[in-house]
């Protein structure tokens, strides 16, 4: 009995105190001493928890974001790789297009049939300067036919099968070519050297040939059309016997970059201008 009265009294006291405080406390904007102290006590903990929570949230969102970014990055990398591959293909096609266009221009420039061939191989031994071209007898290509690119003379076909031909380059000592110095019109015989270029022999010792003079085909050998570029004079010297001049010639063609060539398949319209055989083209 006493205990229940005591309990009820305490409860009523508390409720009453609450009511008194509620009804009597002034509604001031600034916190009182107790409240201020409480706030001051709680603030560091609240801030710490809040900061930690914020960081966790940031980390989580960053993780999610990074996961998306990673995926996005992977897709972009794939896309870049694909585009680079396509770009490389397009560049290769563009270069091929330019080369073929040059060959086409060259082809239009001469009045005789010609065939564009692709380089498919090179000399097996390495001791000679030959190339293999994917055109042969079936395409009308045969021995002794001239091979050229837009930059100049490449060489001459030496052997042909049904579908493949072997061409000897002008840098091989085994190939001789009747040429002229374009400026002075002096004639000489050009052949390859073992020093990586060509040599124009039997030039008249009174010739005014100079370094950087252009050398062109003379058309007198009945094989190469007239005035096809061959190269440029690098050095002039006396021949061993002193009767003639010799000119070392840098070929106009960069043989290491050859991919397609033009093979002149017939001598129509006469680039053969040997005496008595009529005018050249």
């Amino acid at each position: 009995m006493f205990r229940s009265v005591r309990n009820i009294s305490v409860i009523l006291l508390l409720l009453g105190a609450g009511l008194v405080i509620l009804l009597s406390s002034p509604q001031r904007p600034e916190a009182g001493l107790i409240r201020g102290t409480l706030y001051a006590l709680l603030q560091p903990f609240q801030e710490a928890v809040s900061t930690a929570q914020s960081r966790v949230r940031n980390i989580w969102s960053s993780y999610i974001y990074l996961t998306e970014v990673r995926e996005h990055n992977r897709k972009l990398t794939q896309e870049v790789a694909r585009l680079l591959h396509e770009r490389a293909i397009l560049l290769a096609k563009d270069q091929e297009n330019r080369r073929l266009r040059k060959l086409l221009d060259l082809k239009r420039g001469y009045d005789f049939p010609s065939v564009v061939g692709k380089i498919i191989g090179e000399d097996a031994s390495g001791w000679y300067r030959t190339l293999f071209i994917n055109r042969g007898l079936d395409d009308g290509v045969g021995p002794k036919m001239p091979v050229a690119v837009a930059e100049g003379v490449v060489g001459r076909i030496t052997e042909s099968s049904a579908s493949v031909s072997k061409a000897l380059l002008i840098t091989d000592p085994g190939l001789s070519l009747d040429c002229r110095v374009a400026r002075t019109r002096d004639r000489g015989v050009l052949s390859g050297t073992l020093q990586g270029g060509c040599i124009l022999r039997y030039l008249d010792h009174r010739s005014g040939v100079k370094e950087r003079d252009e050398v062109v085909t003379s058309g007198m050998d009945g094989v190469f059309p007239k005035d096809m570029p061959v190269g440029a004079v690098r050095q002039i010297r006396q021949s061993g016997q002193g009767l003639f001049l010799e000119a070392l010639v840098d070929p106009a063609v960069d043989f290491s970059k050859l991919e397609e060539v033009l093979i002149i398949v017939a001598k129509r319209g006469g680039f053969d201008v040997r005496p008595g055989l009529g005018a050249d083209r």
Binding site: D123, S125, Y128, T158, P173, S191, L194
Partner: protein, 166 residues
């Protein structure tokens, strides 16, 4: 017979390599003579008659795939095969370096034969580059032999197990 098939297959593969992609990696005039390396390898592994026939055939193929006179490399490879076989019998040259030296000498001999033939045809313009060519190419071939010989040994070993020659 199975050995012959092996060297024929290897020769075919090496010649394809030699006439195509090898020239893109190294200047054509200095590229190693892979066919010669195979001939030297065959000289230490094959019967005299079959090997000599193979060397001759490989040389003929190189003749046809180069600007040389038909028969020059056939003759040279055959001679190199016989010389290497003889050296192997006499001195038991089977170390990697010994085999590489054989390849160097063989390549030098082949190059000298080419130069001599060019000289006979009409004096070419021999210069320092030709001398460099005659020395550098054999050395590069020798270096290539150091790589190609072990590869051929391994391939031949695997092939022999499959073909059952052992």
């Amino acid at each position: 017979m199975s050995d012959l098939l092996f060297v024929l297959g290897a020769g075919f593969a090496l010649l394809i390599l030699q006439t195509t992609s090898l020239g893109f990696t190294i200047s054509p005039e200095y590229k190693p003579d892979l066919a010669l390396i195979l001939v030297v390898w065959a000289a230490l592994r094959m019967d005299l008659l079959v090997g000599a026939g193979f060397a001759f055939m490989t040389g003929m193929t190189v003749d046809m795939l180069s600007g040389s006179h038909l028969g020059l490399f056939a003759l040279m490879y055959c001679a190199i095969f016989l010389a290497c076989g003889r050296a192997h019998t006499a001195f038991q040259v089977d170390s990697p370096m010994g085999r590489a030296i054989m390849a160097v000498l063989g390549c030098f001999v082949a190059g000298s034969a080419v130069a001599a033939l060019r000289w006979v045809q009409g004096p070419p313009d021999f210069g320092w580059n030709a001398l460099l060519w005659l020395t550098a190419k054999p050395l590069i071939t020798g270096a290539g032999a150091l790589l190609v010989f072990p590869a051929l040994d391994r391939l031949h070993s695997g092939y022999s197990r499959i073909a059952g020659s052992y």
